[in-house]
Structures are given as structure tokens and as C-alpha cells.
Symmetry: D2
Subunit: 260 residues, 4 copies
């Protein structure tokens, strides 16, 4: 039974304060992940700063080079993604720029930007299995694909609705090899691609390539969609500005097609 005492305990929050170890703020002093901000500004590249924020440490030269490429690879896919369309609709309706950006991000649903997180989970799970049971990358790849086939589920990170061979994915894999970001996750991804190409004629896409690479860089899968967002938002902003400056406001984007 819930007594008065228990209830009072429930009502007394234990960790009710917002707190952080990311940035220490004092009067005229800002220290992020141990660095004074004025020492970072002018000395880091923006991608290095993003890495520092998310991993808590400065990247190595190889990781820096790789991470610049990862972020760039997400930049833009023209007018086709629902996120871009949503952001432009809001811009056309006269919403403020930050609202249009947020609106675009809200359209990163399960079917659009969910793939990268899910692919990271698969590769990270795959490496665990591979290590625990001493299986080769090729065996692990086959095991994962069969499991998905049995459950009738689509494997995230492979195939693209517009591209049979995604030029971005190919380039990323090449850089990963040059930067030593082609570890265990990368190898499983490549083996999966071989099998899927043979079975279904599909290749690794940008989400799959980045998921393997980010996993080999030891990023937590929780960060997958967020890193995609960091890379894509500049593109969204370019679209929003194009809509504001070059198109009629509140234009009728969709014609009347309602049916009784």
C-alpha cells in the first residue's frame, strides 16, 4: 500500500536539476569539454568542434578527415526528401527560419532518416556476435541477412529509391580505407553488400556507409540521426532561403485533388 511517507518520497525528486558536464559557464568564462572556448575558436575546424562536443575529445588527424567527409555526405538531395519539402512548405507559409528548420527535422521519420541509427545498431550488434562466437565478417553478414529475411524485414542501409549506385557511398568507403576507419563494422557492411548485390541487386547506400564508418569511429548509435541532422541542416537552410527569396509566398503547391 502507498503510505503518506512513500508518497512524499515519490514527490521529492532526487535529480531535479538541469546540469551538464559539457560546458562550464561562469562570468566571462566558457569552458567546453575542458577547453576554453576562445582557444577553440580559430584553432579547430568546425567538424573538429562537433567531434569534440559529441565524443569529449579532439579527433586524430585521420578521424578529423573522415568526419569532415561524413558530415558533408549528408548535405542535400534536392527537392525529393520529405524533410526538404516540409521545410519549404513552412517557408512558403511565412514561418520564421528556425521554425522551417525544425519542421524539416521533424520529417526525419522512421522511413526517411531512421536508417542510419538502425544500421549502426545492426553493425554494432554484428561485431558483438562476431566477437562472441568467433565468426568471420562474412559468416556474420550471412547470419544478419538471414535473420532479417526470416522476419520479413527490410535491412536498413542498403538500396536507394533513386540511385542503383550511390556516388556518395562509394566515395565515403574509399576515404574510410585511406583513413583507417575500415574496421570490423566496415568489413561486415562490405560482406553484407556482396550478398545483397547477388541476391537482390542492391548496393550499400549513404546511410549504410556512414553507419559502418561511424561505428568504427566508436560513435554510439544514439548519435546516428543527430549526426545526419548536423550534416543536413545547412542544406535545409539553403532550401528555406531559396524559397523565401525566389518564390511567391503562400503559393499553391498542391492542386485541388480531394475526392469525396
Amino acid at each position: 500500500m502507498i503510505t503518506e511517507e512513500i508518497m512524499r518520497g515519490m514527490l521529492k525528486p532526487k535529480n531535479s536539476d538541469l546540469r551538464t558536464s559539457i560546458t562550464q559557464v561562469e562570468t566571462n568564462m566558457l569552458k567546453t569539454q575542458g577547453f576554453f572556448q576562445e582557444e577553440i575558436i580559430g584553432n579547430f575546424s568546425f567538424a573538429e568542434m562537433v567531434y569534440l562536443l559529441l565524443k569529449g575529445e579532439k579527433p586524430s588527424e585521420n578521424h578529423k578527415k573522415m568526419f569532415e567527409a561524413v558530415l558533408i555526405s549528408f548535405c542535400d538531395h534536392g527537392i525529393t526528401p520529405p524533410s526538404t519539402q516540409s521545410a519549404r512548405l513552412m517557408a512558403s507559409a511565412g514561418s520564421p527560419v528556425n521554425v522551417c528548420i525544425a519542421g524539416g527535422i521533424l520529417a526525419f521519420g522512421e522511413n526517411h532518416a531512421g536508417a542510419i541509427e538502425n544500421a549502426m545498431k545492426i553493425f554494432q550488434e554484428g561485431v558483438k556476435i562476431s566477437d562472441a562466437y568467433n565468426r568471420s565478417a562474412s559468416e556474420t553478414a550471412r547470419f544478419i541477412i538471414e535473420e532479417y529475411r526470416d522476419q520479413g524485414k527490410k535491412i536498413p542501409g542498403f538500396g536507394h529509391r533513386y540511385h542503383s549506385e550511390d556516388p556518395r557511398a562509394r566515395k565515403l568507403l574509399e576515404i574510410a580505407q585511406n583513413c583507417g576507419c575500415n574496421g570490423k563494422h566496415f568489413k561486415i557492411a562490405i560482406e553484407m553488400e556482396k550478398l545483397l548485390l547477388k541476391d537482390k541487386g542492391i548496393k550499400i547506400n549513404i546511410d549504410g556507409a556512414n553507419a559502418a564508418i561511424l561505428s568504427d569511429m566508436k560513435f554510439n548509435w544514439h548519435l546516428g540521426c543527430g549526426i545526419f541532422a548536423i550534416g543536413r541542416i545547412p542544406g535545409l537552410l539553403a532550401h528555406i532561403t531559396e524559397e523565401i527569396l525566389n518564390e511567391d509566398p503562400f503559393r499553391k503547391i498542391t492542386e485541388l485533388k480531394s475526392t469525396v
Copy 2:
């Protein structure tokens, strides 16, 4: 009177298609601002890519260096901004990561991140006045401040509720001078700071410094809040991840303080 004919004309949209000149998408081909994406990936820094998307051209060496610094300067301000608090509240409530990011961006209201756009407008307007009437930067600065004083309005870009001397602003101004981004807008900003320091004891803040610099780099003021967003989102993501991984879910952040 509205005739059938006029009505039909109103109903026929003239530019009803979503279209863009930012990225050309064809099967296995992505070309952004004239560059094949696979040629950008691995060759540009992420900040250069952002610049290319927003301005349509690759930055000069000086502009590149400056823009890396500008983006970094927005990175994080600990737990104090409403955007960070909103994003963490949503993370605590169990919302997906992209939703938490969007939630943070929605809290960039007039009182929080509105300053940079408004400061850009002021400096850009100031340069027009200065050019048209052949006034010095110092005369223009005095004119702007007096106008705001007469209207009883707060001047955006100066003063900070936590810092009397913002270490980020000082560093940015220094880099601007080294990179030749200290043109007409910069000079007006500096003159305004002199006057405001004497009158009110306040100095230029990070929004003011970036507004002057971005204006000298010829960025449209419509981009002000968006560039702030690009710089701040990595910090928001760091906070969201910290909340998810290190704090209890759905914790009682605010104690009961309701009154009848």
C-alpha cells in the same frame, strides 16, 4: 466583381511545383551548386560545404578560416539557454533525438536567438546610410544608437545577461581583423560598442560580433538565425545525448510550485 473566369485564374497556380537550383538529382548523380558531391566529399571541410550551400560558391582561404570560427563560436552555453533546457526536457520525456533537436530550435525565440538577425539588419542598414549620406562609421553609430534610444528599444548585439566581457566575441573580432573581415559593418559595430560602453557599460556580445562579421562576408540577414542554428545544433545534440545516457528518464525537473 469576381467572375467565373477570374476565379478560375485564381485557382490555377502559376508556380505550384517544388523546384530548386541547389542540387541537381539524377540516377547515380548528385550535383550541388555546380560540384559533383563525390568531388566535394573528402576535398572540402564541412564549414566550406556549408558556405558553398549558403552562398553558392567556395570560400576564399580567409573566408574559410573566418567561417570555421563563426560556426564554432555558437557551439554551447551550458545549461542556461531555453533551447538547451527544452531539448533536455524532451529527451527526458522520451522523445526521439530528432524531435529533441527540433524542440531546441523552436526555443530560438525573439528574446534568445533573434538578436543576430536584428543586429545584421542594423549594421547593413547602417552601411547603406553611411554610404548614401557620406557619414563616418562613428557618426553612423551615434545616429543608430540615438534612434534606438528615442524609440526606447534595446539594441541587439550588445550586452549579455551572464558576461560583462564575452570571451567569444573578443576572439572573433581578433580573427576578423586577421582575415580581412573587418569592413564597413565591422567598423560601425566597433564604434557602437565604444559609445555603449561609455553610456551603459556594455560591450559587444557574440551575436553582435558575428552579425558584423557575417555582414562583411556579404551574408543576407535572412541567414542569421539559420547560421546560429547550424553552429548550435551540435551542442544541443551533446546535451540530448547526455540527458538520455546519464540521467533518469522522466525525472521531475520542476518541483510543484503551482498556486491557486
Copy 3:
């Protein structure tokens, strides 16, 4: 100059607590605007509850009838509004239902749902002018229209891009007359419509009708867009559910139309 003392004062927040007088929450007790919630549930209509929340008092019979009509009038406009399109795009992308609703609301931009607040401001300002200078509704209407014409601005609340005679507006005005919600604001709106019909062939629209009625019911104009949202969200939810249950996920809503 900013001394240590001033700085400390700046850093000490005066009203840093979230607090409310809307609902008193205690263990096993919820009291909203002075009523125990369990006494409202089952005794009020939903529209009466909305009224109680927003105005702090139960509506009269007339105000109740009027407010039910106002909320209903905003219900849905098919597939044409940017808010509906955004919400469906997000649903198609696989975003959760609450995210799709939020996305729809974010598309209530200046050009889409901004009209009702602006029309409320105009009518409320008009009544002030009319009272202060002892002008008739007709004189005030002419004054407002001329002011807008001189500034080259569009008058919110009149004309519709799909309807020459909005059936919802006509019905609302009729109910307002029956419910005694046809006071000073209503009269100015009607006079404005007469002039605009003669000059431009346009009639009052749903935003204009509701703006006049809500003003006569003494709602603050700050509530205009919010009341629209309350009325429209059920329609957005219907669209989101239709998209989830009846359409293919992640369908290509916009064809490739990008240009170099």
C-alpha cells in the same frame, strides 16, 4: 561601469520559477480555474472547458453556443493548406503522430494562419479609435481601409484564394447575430466588408468573421492563432491517420523537378 555588485544582481534571477495560477496540483487533487477537475468532467462540454481555460470563467449560454461554432469552423480545408501537407509528409516519412501534429502547427505561418491574430488587432484597434474619437463603425471602417491602402498592405480577414463567398463565414456571422456576439467589432467588420466588396469584389473570410466574433467575446488577440490551432488540430489528426492507414509509406509525393 559594471561592478561586481551589478553583475551579481544580473545573475540573480528574480522570477526563476515556473509557476501557474491555472491549475492547482496536490496529491489526488486537481483544481482548474477554481473548479475540481472531477466536477468539470461529465458536466461541461469540451468547448466550455476550453473557454474556462482561456478566459478563467465558464461561458454564458450564448457564449457557449458561439464558441462551439467558432471552434468547429476551423476544422478542415482538405488537402490544400501547407499545414495539412506538412503533417502528411511527416506521417509518410514515418514520424510519430504527435510529431506530425506539431509539424502541421509549425506551418501556420504569417501567410497561412497569421490572418486571424492580425484581424483581431485591427478590429480591437478600430474599436478603440471609434470610442476615442466618437466615430461611427462605417467611418472607422473607411479609415482603416484607407490606412492600409496608403501603406500598400493587404487587409487580413477578407478575400480567400479558393472561395469568393466562404460558406463558413456567412454561417458564423448569422450565429453571432443570434447569440449577441455582434457588438462593436462585428459592426466594423461588416462595414469593412461592404467597402471591400464594392472596391475589390472581396468578402469577409473565416478569419475575419472569427476575429470579429472573438473580439466581441473579449478574447485577447494573443489567443487568435492558438484558438485556430485548437479548432484545426482534430482535422490534422484525421489527415495524419488517413495517411498512415491508407497510403504507402514514404511515397514519392513530389516528382523530380530539380534544375541545374
Copy 4:
């Protein structure tokens, strides 16, 4: 292998148009779920209109009474929910009203408003099991609880972090009995409460009560969170307006508590 032909097929969208059967829009004519809007306005209550939109038919008298109560029951819970806190933070930051509402809705995360959908799924699954295996409500309740216990998962819809006996839930159950909305789902919920009260001292909460009732009214579980949103948004709007009109803008809601 993907041939040119297959590729072209992939690129040709099959259902690329936004379309709806909810509302038919023609010039000067709006017909929703088969009713002309001008016939609904003034004749339906707002809750009836919501029901019509979501179910495609007018409610019976009993369903109408029940649905008014359901929507009201979600109205407000003071300052404690993350959604309310987020909405107020955004209002304090100076974001527009629609943005603050959207921000509140985005904080309806898994841990906050997810319970109602999940409880609907459980009860609807429970009724299927009960029908298929001819089990009593009490047997089904025990089966569900044991399954959750075995998986170490929290059962949604029971227990409340502030209330041991939620006054709203009790009142709703009473009305459900009077309105004949106490069918199979209701009975399973009541049996689950009996067991959970004995085992853990927790009772059914507002989410559980509404989940059972809405399921007996034959609402699809996809609508759970959306119906909660419809009921809660008026409360969010009341909070947003209170923040705008009664509090200092951009106040420091959280004190500096960051740590290195």
C-alpha cells in the same frame, strides 16, 4: 540486376498525389465526412465534430457524452509535465504562440504521453486473446500482467507519479458505466487494476481509464496520443498566454548549475 527499365519503374511514383476523402473542397463549398460544413457549424458540439472527423460518423448520444468527458479529462496538470514546461520556456524566449504549442506537443515523449497508445494496444490485444481462447476478463488480466512482469516491463496506464488515486480516472470510469462504454476492454482494465492494487498498491490512472474507454468506443490505438493532444492543447495555450502576459520575457528559469 537492376536494369534501366526497373530503375525507371522505381522512379515513377504510383501514388504521388496528396489526396483525401475527409473534406471535399470546391469553390464556395466545403463538405466534411459527407456533411456541408455550414450545416455542422451551429448544430454540432465541438466534441461531436472531433468525433466526426476521427471516426467518419456522428456519435450517438452516449458516445457524445463520453467523448466530451474524455477530452476534458486531459485538460491540464499544472506546471509539472515536460510539455507544459517546454511550451512556457519557448514563450519566455519569445517564440510565436503556434511554435510554443508545437514545442509542447513535441515533449509528449514515450515517458510522458506514450502511455495511452500503449495501454490501448494492450487492452485491444487482450480482447483479441480473450475472444480467441475464450478466457474471462480476469484470466486475461492476469495473463497480461504476468507477461509484463516476466519481461521486466512497466505496464502503461496504471500508477501515477503524483497521485495514488487519480480523481479524473475515477470519474471517467463512472461516466463510462453510465454511458455503456464499459465493454470488454473496460472489464479487462478493471481486472488488471484489482491485481495491480493488490500486488503493488497502484490504481488505474487517467491514461489507463481513457485507453479502456476509447477502445470500447472502437477508436484505433493509432489515435491515442492524438486524442490526448486535442484535449491537452487548450491547457498548453492557457499556460503560454499566462507566460506571455504575466511573466518577464527571457527570464532565467534555471540557475547556473553546470559542473566541470
